[in-house]
Amino acid sequence: MVPLSTFLDLTFTGLVIGAIYALFALGYTLVYGVLRLINFAHSEVFMWGSFGAVWAMTFLGSRPNMAWPAAVGLLLVALVVAMAVSGGVALVVERVAYRRLREKKAPPLVALISAIGASFMLSELMGLRDRVAGWVGLDGVLAPYLRQARENTAFVNPLPNVTVLSAGGFEIRSNQLIVLVGAVLMMIALDQFVSRSRLGRGVRAVSQDPEAAALMGVNQKQVVQLTFFIGGLMAGAAAVLYLIHIPVTRYNVGFILGIKAFTAAVLGGIGNIRGALVGGLVLGLVENYATLFGLESSWKDVVSFLLLVVVLLFRPTGILGESLGKARA
């Protein structure tokens, strides 16, 4: 029998990684809700955000275990940079890979392929950044940011990692708590934004009925841009929280993580913001709970995708069901 402390340990760490999946999943869910398209370049939006955070820390000279005020300040800067980079990349993806196709009323499959192309392009561009910098003669100046372009790049987390709670062999560390609380706060803020603000109402309107929304004076182009941008912002935040949890990134970090986040979105009901939260947390928990049944860690993907298949068999629209427009309290 598994001791209670281990069960709590698995539950808590499962929620931590699940919260990151959830935040990452928002980008898939929002874009799907508005455009009925899967934005496969979203994983690279996340990856670029993670590099934004890493480079901000390198630039600012972050060191491990700094004093709290300085550490929190640095981390907030990293957060802003990562969100800005991710938001920017998401806008570029929308502009380059989607807008023309939408204007020309291309079939959805074409947009899908174009997104996958954008994903490869963005990923390899990061993996080859040393050579790209070499062509323009910046490889000397930028050397600290180009080192081993295809290898792991370390994120120097300035926060001290202290024990917040310790009881009977179960521990909660400050870093884990920051990730979990940070992710949930971001999601609540987004949920409130979409369900209460004027811009959010526009997003929901386009999602429910694009033509009626246009007739009512909603600027559809703007709403689509806004959706990509918000998804990017959330991916940037997810990237910083991911780096607090796992302090390295690389050019292809978005691939597996993107599949997980996409799974979380589908599991919870794609197009549904609260569904992304539920899906992410459930996925994180299930991955960890595989250990409870004596399965080795390498089985965790088998277990989580089995769950996805089973859930979709009985609820084809996911746990909370589809549709951004209808998801309301």
Binding site: N65, S298, D301
Partner: protein, 392 residues
């Protein structure tokens, strides 16, 4: 004694073959007669290859070896004016799925007479079979693939210049229980040909001291379930069989979860012995980790190797650089002595017996080195330094 007889037989056979060729072919006689005289010319474009990861997730290990090989080739080309040898890179990205095609590409290159590599055990399993094909018959010396079963297939073209995991595994187990005095060891592997193979040997040798096992995937980054399980098992040491990227993240997440180095020691293997481990874990978490390796500490290498390497690359030799140099040197010595066909070079390597920078280089009939040593290394202040030799 027995091994000498066994070695002598194929060597004699090869000599006969050579003599037979000499009576019929024209080209072969000239190359045969120039044997021994160094500095002679050799066929235009003659090349040796390096087979291993030069890009991809585990590229650090491959690049370290490749640098050693390059150094040997450059030195050879400088010294022996007329006999210029080319180095062909075969970049496998450490990916087993690419090994077959790449090996066939190497096999069909008629100017290629020998290979250093393949670097990893997984790709070796695929590629070595291609090289051993009697039609191909391409001699290759691996400076880093340590899976013991590679030598058990009767592949006549297989050689390696370092101890295999059948020597590393028991040495690691002995180091953990004997030197570090740990009683409860949690053994994790990355399900790779190499990581699982080595971890299984360690498991067997630890016996009752192995309290629990787990496997992870290559490319996995979140190990929280593993860490929770380590804590639950009450282990006082963790052995990880695999490569540096996963090893670094695992030790980082252990330390993050409050399992300190005093409570739970972390021991890994030669695949994890790379600065990439410290990059992934950060200096604090990596400090105190032990790494076993059937490789000589680079600064213990003989002659001017360390000096030459440092001069050429502005960095000290890293894991398997010296082994890569040695492997290349054997092939280059053969070429200098006029062994410029695949057949000749193969029989030359079989009977090779000269001091290299890492050890006396000599192979038994399976292609294993006749003398091996396993060392324990330790991460200290963010650097991997030699700790002690593990006497088996």
């Amino acid at each position: 004694m027995r091994s000498i007889v066994k070695l002598a037989a194929p060597a004699a056979a090869a000599a006969l073959l050579l003599a037979a060729c000499g009576t019929t072919g024209g080209d072969d006689t000239s190359s045969g007669s120039s044997a021994g005289s160094s500095g002679g010319s050799c066929p235009d474009g003659i090349s040796i290859g390096f087979f291993g990861a030069l890009t991809g997730p585990d590229a650090n290990l491959g690049v370290n070896i490749d640098n050693g090989v390059k150094l040997a080739v450059d030195q050879h080309n400088q010294k022996s004016g007329a006999c210029q040898v080319k180095l062909e890179p075969y970049d496998s990205q450490g990916d087993q799925n690419q090994a077959q095609g790449l090996a066939q590409k190497a096999a069909s290159n008629t100017k290629l007479v020998g290979i250093v590599g393949p670097a990893f055990s997984g790709e070796s399993k695929v590629a070595d079979k291609v090289f051993a094909d009697p039609e191909v018959n391409l001699v290759h010396i691996t400076p880093s693939a340590t899976n013991p079963s590679l030598a058990e297939n009767g592949w006549k073209t297989f050689f390696r210049v370092l101890g295999n995991d059948a020597t590393q595994g028991p040495a690691a187990a002995k180091f953990i229980t004997g030197t570090l005095k740990k009683q409860k060891v949690y053994v994790v592997d990355d399900s790779s040909e190499y990581g699982k193979g080595l971890a299984d040997i360690v498991r067997k040798d630890l016996g009752a001291a192995d309290v629990k096992d787990n496997t992870v995937q290559k490319g996995q980054t979140d190990f929280s379930a593993v860490v929770a399980d380590i804590r639950a098992s009450g282990a006082d040491a963790v052995f990880f069989g695999g490569y540096y990227a996963e090893a670094g993240l695992l030790v980082k997440q252990m330390r993050d979860a409050g399992l300190s180095n005093d409570q739970v020691a972390f021991i890994s293997d030669d695949g994890a012995k790379d600065d990439g481990l410290v990059t992934a874990a950060g200096t604090d978490a990596a400090n105190g980790a032990y790494l076993t390796c059937p490789c000589l500490p680079p600064d213990k290498a003989e002659g001017s190797f360390v000096e030459d390497y440092t001069k050429a690359y502005n960095t000290a030799p890293a894991t398997y650089s010296a082994e890569g140099y040695d492997a290349a040197k054997i092939l280059l010595d053969g070429i200098s002595e006029g062994k410029v066909t695949r057949e000749d070079l193969l029989s030359y390597v079989k009977t090779y017996d000269k001091p290299g920078v890492t050890k006396q280089l000599k192979f038994d009939d399976k292609g294993e080195p006749s003398s091996v040593s396993v060392w324990a290394y330790k991460v200290d202040g963010g650097k991997i330094v030699a700790d002690q030799e593990i006497n088996s």
